[in-house]
Amino acid sequence: MAEIRLQELAHAYAPGAPHALKPLDMTWRDGGTYALLGPSGCGKSTMLNIISGLLHPSEGRVLFDGQDVTRLGAGQRNIAQVFQVPVIYRSMTVGQNLAFPLVCRGGPTPRIRQRVEAIAERLGLTPLLKRPANALTADQKQLVSLGRGLVREDVAAILLDEPLTVIDPQMKFELRRILKEINAEFRVTMVLVTHDQTEAMTFAEEVIVMNHGEVVQAGRPRDLFERPATTHVGHFIGSPAMNFLPALAVAGRAVVPGTGLSLPLPDGLPTDGLVLGFRPEHARLSGASGTMQGRVARLWFEGLDEIVALSHPAGEVRLRAPAGLGLAPGDTAAFTLRDTALRLYRNGRLVA
């Protein structure tokens, strides 16, 4: 178990090529759960592979508990990694698969067997120990992959590279629960790479949102939800996405024309590229008049809730409202919104 520190870390796949990972500093607490969230090609897997040692960064250092491991190979780093595709060694049984990392490092056989049995017991794989690993289902294989990480007592961190993508939705939930339990029980640092915001938000204590090789925002899920640092984060996190409407500067306030949405402008802020944003969850439908009025364009059913899309000359906004209000496309509706739920962005970045 270890604290992981990334110091001025950056990576370009070829000298002179653009950075796949732009320079960043970050510290991951021992025993914490972290999620790297971002669209495909945003550099999150690059970052993970640098930490596991499969890739050597072109700049910066990786420290485990203060010790520089930047130049160490994957095998010498005590890192476990679970990949998107479940990896099992096909010619071996489940038991041999679990024992593999220990066998590679050498050690007394009874000790290895004891350890394998303990981990198999924990993951519910005991009845499968003698089965050929190839015959397992995808989620069982993914458990075996995870088990190969846990079987090493000295493992510094478990890196999970979109491990739930190929798993059935039902089993996804189950596996996520097991991951959380394992984290609580073994106090092992876990880093999850994913492009699924729900997965990231429910799994991690801290979510690191990445885009174009850059860390856009890192923080607790609630912070990301309440105060997205950029419009990109606002779009990416939350379902439906955050609403953004272009605003104009009028008498020291940023105002969305034709609505009651406005926030005071901070002193000295240039007045171009202003956008006001708010979460669909924070708006309250209020009958005929309110902060903003529009025509119902579409409705989505979401169980107890309903997503209402309102169209307005300033743009379309979406609201989360209790189901059963009897709205229909074409109706006029209005909502109220507290100023504290409004966020001001300039050129895509949070201002207030």
């Binding site: 095998g75 990694q81 990949f83 990896v87 096909r90 010619s91 590679c104 050929p132 190839n134 992959s145």
Partner: protein, 289 residues
Amino acid sequence: MYRQKYIFLLPGLLVLVAVILFPLIFTIRVSFSSWDVYNPGLNNAGGAMYARLWDDSRYWEALWRLSLLSLSTVLIQYVLGFALALLVWRDIAARRFLRVLFLVPMMTTPVVMSVIWRTIFHESLGPLNPILEALGIGAQPWLSQATHAFAAVMIVEIWQWTPFMFLLLLAGLLSLPSEPFLAARVDGAGPVRTFLSVTFPMMGAISVGAILIRAIEASKIMETVYVLTSGGPGTATETVSYYIYIRGMRDFQIGYAAALSLTYLVIMAVALTLIAKALIRLMVREARA
């Protein structure tokens, strides 16, 4: 209903009958005759040809020799081909050039290359013996002594067909997913263990395929023997197909050659099936899962 469907099947069926069924049935018929130079034509000799074959030790020796030759050369081709494929698989300098270079032997005509190899092996004029002498090994009676001639045939076969193995195995290696290799690195496996636990098991199915294709081809070794040694010295390098050629085309014992061919066909079909089964059991672990 739809009786005209047979019209569409007919061309294919005709080709099948003309190319495979007719020659096969005709050969079976011929094998029960004593058609030779003196008594040409289809008479009824019963199983006389098969009885003669049973006592023909030269035939059984050729069969045994062929088994030894084909199995050993295919095995060596597999090992060499696999090693070469592993060599150029990963990013190394000039791998494109090396890939093409390794394929050159396969593109050459066997007969032409056998002629060239015969020149190389030539005991007084060829370049090989002077080189061996310079190395202190001494000149070898390449084509005039039984074991040496057998080795010479093996060398030419291996030289000619290792590229084929290389090609198939390289294609197999390139199609492997990268994750198991990454996982093995994270798990701390060294190169040897990675090969034994990851690469080789994943290459099982394609290995069986490559070995079988080569084994089928190798069971028909003929032109190399014909050009290089003509089966000699004595019968030291005589394979079954070459022996059948001697009986059928040189001695013109058509009936006997037909019986030899059929027996050879059946033995090969059975042997290759058994080899295939054994290889699958040995190398394709997941087939049992």
